[in-house]
């Protein structure tokens, strides 16, 4: 338990030395938090880069890249994900082993996890290796079939109506899907967790008010709303990603609230209160870490909804025209369906498998972390 002397905060005098037992226990006795420093450094670096990119106005190049706003967010999410999911897992090998043992029993889920990691890797690294699809436009090589349907290895997955290599379209699409899935979910988790935990812990009118709002938000059909908003404000991937995050957190919020409610009565929370810990402290240090299992499961199952949603918007033509979402490629191939079915089919297969994989993994995670 963290031993924080409440009075020392008020009076400024240090009656006790502030000892953060949690951190000491977790780090095996060291009191300097190496991971936190690294994370902070990386985030500060990213933030600085972001500010530089946007204050300089005109398109600027950093190390030969020109990231868009969504890509900045994506990098931040990746960093947060590494430090708040991967690192804690690595630091608690016993817990991780326990989860893994149950998870491992579900071979389909394990395969899916592998698939997803490959897609993530390709999505992150791919656009650095393969040129953007528009640079492969060549009307002379339009409508080439994929290699398994009579084509050649020069265009392994075929080409579209303007000669773009389908493989490039797929890889860039991977990045878009990963960006949408992960960033939206990260936003949704953040908002949902804070709202849910606060509502549960503070209770009273705050709780009532927040839950009424959640009700209202849940009533609104998000997709319709998004269409309307895109109509009004124009399509941009950033807009779509952020909106999905802002309108997709109710489920997580409700979940966190009910889990927190169950735990608020738990003994260790009462002990912390008795020791003088403030409400915020309890919410942050005790309640939130303990509902993280449920949240991760809910998040993994939320990611596919966002990916599918953006794909549908792209299919209808409402997504960012500068971006090569899978939905857009599928839509583009519709008119040539009978003669060149691969243009629509192959991205569709990837989309389907990605979403399917997330669902398998999410269900398996739920079984591993919350068996009942």
């Amino acid at each position: 338990m963290a031993a924080e002397d409440a009075t020392s905060r008020d009076t400024g005098a240090h009656a006790f030395e502030e000892i953060d037992w949690d951190r000491i226990d977790a780090r095996g006795g060291r009191s300097v938090d190496g991971w936190a420093i690294t994370e902070a450094a990386i985030l500060v670096g990213l933030l600085a880069g972001f500010v530089y990119d946007y204050s300089a106005g005109t398109p600027t190049e950093l190390i030969g890249l020109d990231p868009t706003a969504v890509e900045w967010l994506f990098s931040i999410v990746l960093v947060l994900g590494t430090f708040h999911v991967a690192v804690p897992l690595a630091e608690n090998p016993r817990l991780t082993a326990r989860y893994w043992r149950t998870f491992r029993k579900n071979r389909v889920a394990v395969g899916s996890l592998g698939f997803l990691l490959s897609i993530l890797a390709l999505g992150v690294v791919g656009p650095m290796i393969w040129v953007p699809p528009n640079e492969t436009i060549d009307f002379a090589t339009a409508y080439r079939p994929p290699v398994f349907a009579g084509g050649s290895w020069a265009h392994a997955l075929g080409t579209d109506a303007q000669g773009r290599h389908l493989w490039h379209l797929i890889v860039y699409g991977m990045r878009v899907s990963m960006e949408v899935g992960l960033v939206s979910t990260a936003i949704a988790i953040s908002i949902g967790t804070v709202v849910g935990a606060t509502a549960a812990h503070v209770g009273g009118y705050v709780d009532e008010g927040l839950m009424r709002y959640v009700d209202l938000q849940q009533t609104f059909p998000v997709f319709v709303l998004l269409l309307f908003l895109v109509y009004l404000f124009g399509p941009s991937l950033l807009f779509i990603v952020v909106l999905y995050g802002f309108f997709g957190w109710e489920g997580i919020g409700r979940l966190v609230r009910s889990e927190t409610l169950q735990r608020t009565e738990a003994v260790y929370v009462r002990a912390a209160e008795a020791a003088g810990a403030g409400r915020w402290w309890i919410v942050r240090r005790h309640l939130i870490p303990n509902v993280s299992g449920t949240v991760i499961t809910a998040a993994t199952l939320a990611i596919p909804t966002f990916i599918l949603g953006e794909a549908a918007l792209a299919f209808l033509g409402f997504s960012d025209p500068a971006v090569f979402s899978w939905g857009r490629t599928i839509a583009a191939g519709r008119s040539d369906l009978a003669s060149a079915p691969w243009i629509s089919t192959i991205p569709g297969v990837f989309l389907f498998l990605t979403v399917l994989a997330f669902n398998f993994v999410g269900d398996a995670l739920r079984d591993a972390m919350d068996p009942r």
Binding site: F223, L232, I330, L351
Partner: protein
């Protein structure tokens, strides 16, 4: 009586929610850029005239320069009195356009809702009580398939197979052509005819898939919670048959949590899907109306078609809450 007061409160809340929704759309409209004004200004500048004046004239012609409160009041009254404006693209009033289109939407939407719920719940319940059987595994697979497959892609693939390949292919020497379905909707058939039903098969199948799968999973999960419940054992100890246990005990109790996800979830999935379905199968319903309106920037129509799903969702939510108190005698009308 507690219940009457609860009903009144829920209805009042539904009205408040409606008011908030309509006000929000107004707010969004006001906050959004008016490309028409920019275009007028640009045009004026190109002709050597004063762009600011052109912009002001454009705005005042449409009453967009009046105080916000005045515009708001007018907006709200219009909505309430069903004066939803004139649709430039359809060349009729918005209300007229809607009343023509809604039938086309309803004829595939309603069957999709029914299938999702009735079939979804039956399979879900059956799977829960017959775990580890073949039906359970198959149902599970179908459910994963259903929630993962992108509906637009599924539609395209089905069109390819059923519409194109079946026409020319044959299986074991028998031509599959008769199985081939018309893939693009012909609005000339009467609503309740066989031909119309045939052309609705694909749209309904594609639209139902996702929500059917979702309902299967939810109902199975809830039923599993209750399948091993003590009161189920009591029912069996009384000599109840499996059917009776399933319907009168498991289902009846599971309805309580199921009803909370029913309407809103099913509707949300189906609304999103309807745009896709109408776009792909060319059904002239509300969804396609919306998409066309968006393309030509016919704002009154876009607004109307956005608000309709919101209204339906609010009403659905209200019905769901009312059903919940009927289904669960335990709740205290003091809170939700």
């Amino acid at each position: 009586m507690g219940m009457k007061w609860y009903v009144v409160r829920r209805v009042a809340w539904a009205l408040v929610a409606t008011w908030i929704a309509v006000s929000l759309t107004f707010g969004l409209l006001v906050a959004s850029p008016t490309p028409g004004a920019d275009a007028a200004a640009a045009q004026a500048a190109a002709q050597g005239l004063d762009p600011e004046q052109a912009r002001d004239r454009y705005l005042s012609q449409r009453g967009l320069d009046r105080p916000i409160t005045e515009q708001y009041v007018e907006y709200m009254t219009d909505v309430l009195t069903l004066e939803w404006g004139y649709s430039v693209s359809q060349e009729e009033t918005v209300i007229e356009a809607l009343s023509e289109g809604w039938v086309n939407s309803a004829q595939y939407f309603i069957p999709a809702v029914l299938i999702s719920v009735l079939l979804g719940w039956s399979i879900g319940l059956y799977s829960a009580l017959n775990q580890y059987t073949l039906t359970d595994y198959l149902g599970s697979l179908v459910a994963y398939f259903g929630i993962s497959i992108p509906n637009f892609w599924f539609a395209i693939v089905l069109i390819l197979i059923v519409g194109v390949w079946f026409r020319d292919a044959s299986l074991l020497g028998v031509s599959l052509a008769p199985l081939s379905l018309r893939t693009f909707y012909d609005a000339s058939y009467p609503v309740f005819s066989v031909a119309n039903a045939k052309q609705l098969i694909l749209p309904v199948v594609v639209l139902s898939t996702a929500s059917l799968a979702g309902q299967m999973r939810y109902s199975r999960a809830q039923a599993l919670e209750y399948a091993r419940a003590p009161f189920v054992k009591t029912a069996r100890a009384k000599g109840a048959s499996s059917w009776r246990v399933l319907t009168r005990h498991v289902l009846r109790v599971a309805l309580v949590p199921l009803s909370t996800i029913l309407i809103v979830d099913v509707l949300a999935v189906l609304f999103a899907g309807s745009f896709i379905i109408e776009a792909i199968f060319q059904i002239p319903g509300l969804g396609r109306l919306a998409l066309e309106a968006i393309l030509v920037k016919d704002t009154p129509l876009v607004l109307a078609v956005t608000l309709i799903p919101v209204f339906i969702a609010i009403v659905g939510n209200l019905l769901q809450d009312l059903a919940y108190v009927v289904l669960d005698p335990r709740i205290d009308y003091g809170d939700r």
